[in-house]
Amino acid sequence: MVYGIGLAKGMGVTLKTLLRPAFTVQYPDRRVGVMGAAKAAGISTPGLIFKRPIKAFRAVIGLERVAVRPTQSTRFRGNEFTWYEERCTGCASCAKYCPLGIIKIVTSPGGINVQEGESYAIDTFDIDIGRCMFCALCVEACPYDALHMGSSFERGNYVRMDLVLTKADLNAQAKHPSTWFRPQMEARDFSPFDDVIDDMKQAGRHEMPSVERLTERWVEDRKTDQAEDD
């Protein structure tokens, strides 16, 4: 064994990496120089120096920062849920399918649903995301495309109770649904990071299912399942 050749090879890798552009992403913001600050402000570099000298000076001494958004996939299962009350019938499929049982639903008769007509009104719809593991089984269980995963991840809190998403929270927050298990959104190239879906009709199937589809779903499938079970 010759000492040194192996070491030199390793150093070669290090040298090669030194010359490559950095792979690390600075988050949530990164330092910029004068040119970077001008680009972020949307003006030319001389324009920045003459019109906003203080900003240019800050950039020179390394105080100027620009926000960085990490690259995420549209399927990213984020931690705020997107929920459309008009689509929800209160069937609690999500609550039953949740491995942790963290979805609480209370209903009373008298609601109207887009797909089923006369339905239940949702009195309570709580998701305790402090215990959620974001497996997205609830999203798969939802037969009416009412519940979607979110797309954000910054939800640090000082109080655990604030991690319980109530019906009011879900209705109030901006709706950036993830495209996970929502092929209809992927088909039209929806990106939750740029767009909002406020209209519940855009979020999923919105017309009444046909009689054939309902028959297939509730009668034929069950027959096959029964046959399989026997």
């Binding site: 996939s73 399927r75 497996c135 996970w180």
Partner: protein, 392 residues
């Protein structure tokens, strides 16, 4: 070292009475055997694992492993969950190769239900599993180098692993706990640009594995630290029930993908790298070669991919018939098996996991005794245990 005999046990050092009596004042300084607790918070134990070492100076005389610090009762939990919910629990067994864990569960349930997943779904599964194998091995090269005091490789390997995880995110929506495989296929088809991205990633990973190879394999210090350390023969390895790269480094060409091909591995052409000496260097280098084979498998699988269905026609809530089934798959760490007893319900009556890390850990005492304390860290590193799987 007389003084060590008086240090209290609470600090992790205990003098043992018996083997040699402490020397009387004024005479030649003698030695006493010492008990050293390594872990559960020791960074080199790769998790919450405790080794009780009896040492004579730097030499390890005896080693007692203590496990169970991460016990979550996964197997018992599985008895109360639907089969589709169990997949989320399997993600958390070996938390650096999640796809491989999911695969073994869905394979077992499919075997029990006699369900055949569509060919496209099987290829997506294979691609994901092989990427995960490479990601897991990349993590191994890095942490193994850290165990020996080399900081550089782990940074490079995390860089490459990050690219793999970005691909995982675009496929399954999560970077680690994917919950993507289902009984009868995969949950959602991959993007249209998946094949192109995967092939680019293959080139990147090839370079990444080559980087690790160049950084470590021929490094004189690395060779001094690993060759001839923790040697186990092929027969002994089989007797201990070792599997995976640890077994193959001892020259036994046993790979579940070849011996009992599952999924569509029988159609793919790949080699099974084996070592000869069965020491730490071989266990490291087998994993380098294995990662390269995995890249070859991915390229073949992408070439075979055709558009089509990704889910067989099965109920969302699987209900296998009464009976029992055992299925095992080749994990990055070895032969992961799952045994399911079904009473015909929606939940398993009993579920048992055969974790490769746990079985490989058995040999730790035999491998370590006689070596130095610093080598104990290296040997544990080459076994590449994940405590989530050891303790379940």
């Amino acid at each position: 070292m007389n003084g060590f005999g008086n240090v209290s046990g609470a600090r992790g050092l205990t003098a043992l009475s018996g083997s040699e009596s402490p020397p009387s004042p004024g005479s030649e300084p003698g030695t006493v055997d010492m008990m050293v607790n390594m872990g559960p918070q020791h960074p080199a134990t790769h998790g919450v694992f405790r080794m009780e070492l009896r040492v004579d100076g730097e030499r390890v005389l005896d080693l007692v492993p203590h496990i169970g610090y991460l016990h979550r009762g996964s197997e018992k939990l599985c008895e109360h969950e639907l089969y589709s919910q169990i997949i989320t629990l399997f993600d958390r067994l070996d938390y650096v190769s999640n796809f491989n864990n999911e695969l073994v569960l869905v394979t077992a349930v499919e075997k029990l239900m006699s369900v055949e997943p569509p060919p496209r779904a099987e290829l997506i599964r294979i691609i994901m599993c092989e990427f995960n194998r490479i990601a897991s091995h990349l993590l191994f090269y890095g942490t193994f180098a850290i165990d020996m005091g080399a900081m550089t490789p782990v940074l490079y390997n995390f860089r490459d692993r990050e690219k793999v995880q970005a691909l995982f995110e675009s496929v399954s929506g999560a970077r680690m706990m994917h919950n993507y495989f289902r009984v009868g296929g995969v949950k959602q088809d991959v993007d249209a640009d998946f094949a192109a991205r995967a092939l680019t990633l293959c080139d990147d990973l090839e370079r990444g594995v080559d980087d690790s190879d160049r950084l470590l394999s021929e490094n004189a210090i690395f060779i001094e630290r690993t060759s001839g350390i923790g040697v186990i023969s092929g027969e002994a390895a089989l007797d201990w029930g070792l599997s995976g790269p640890v077994l193959r480094a001892s020259g036994v060409p046993y790979d579940v993908r070849v011996e009992e091909p599952y999924s569509r591995y029988a159609e793919l052409d790949f080699g099974v790298p084996v070592g000869s000496a069965g020491d730490c260097w071989d266990r490291f280098y087998v994993r380098i070669l294995e990662a390269r084979e995995s890249i070859g498998i991915i390229r073949q699988a992408i070439a075979l991919m055709e558009p089509g269905e990704t889910m067989a026609r099965v109920r969302q809530i699987a209900r296998p018939p009464a009976g029992e089934v055992y299925a095992h798959c080749e994990n990055p760490r070895g032969d992961l098996g799952v045994y399911i007893v079904s009473d015909g319900g929606e939940r398993p009556y009993r579920l048992k996991v055969r974790p490769p890390s746990f079985c490989n850990l058995q040999a730790l005492r035999d491998l370590t005794v006689g070596h130095y304390i610093a080598d104990a860290v290296v040997i544990l590193g080459t076994l590449d245990i994940v405590l989530g799987e050891v303790d379940r």
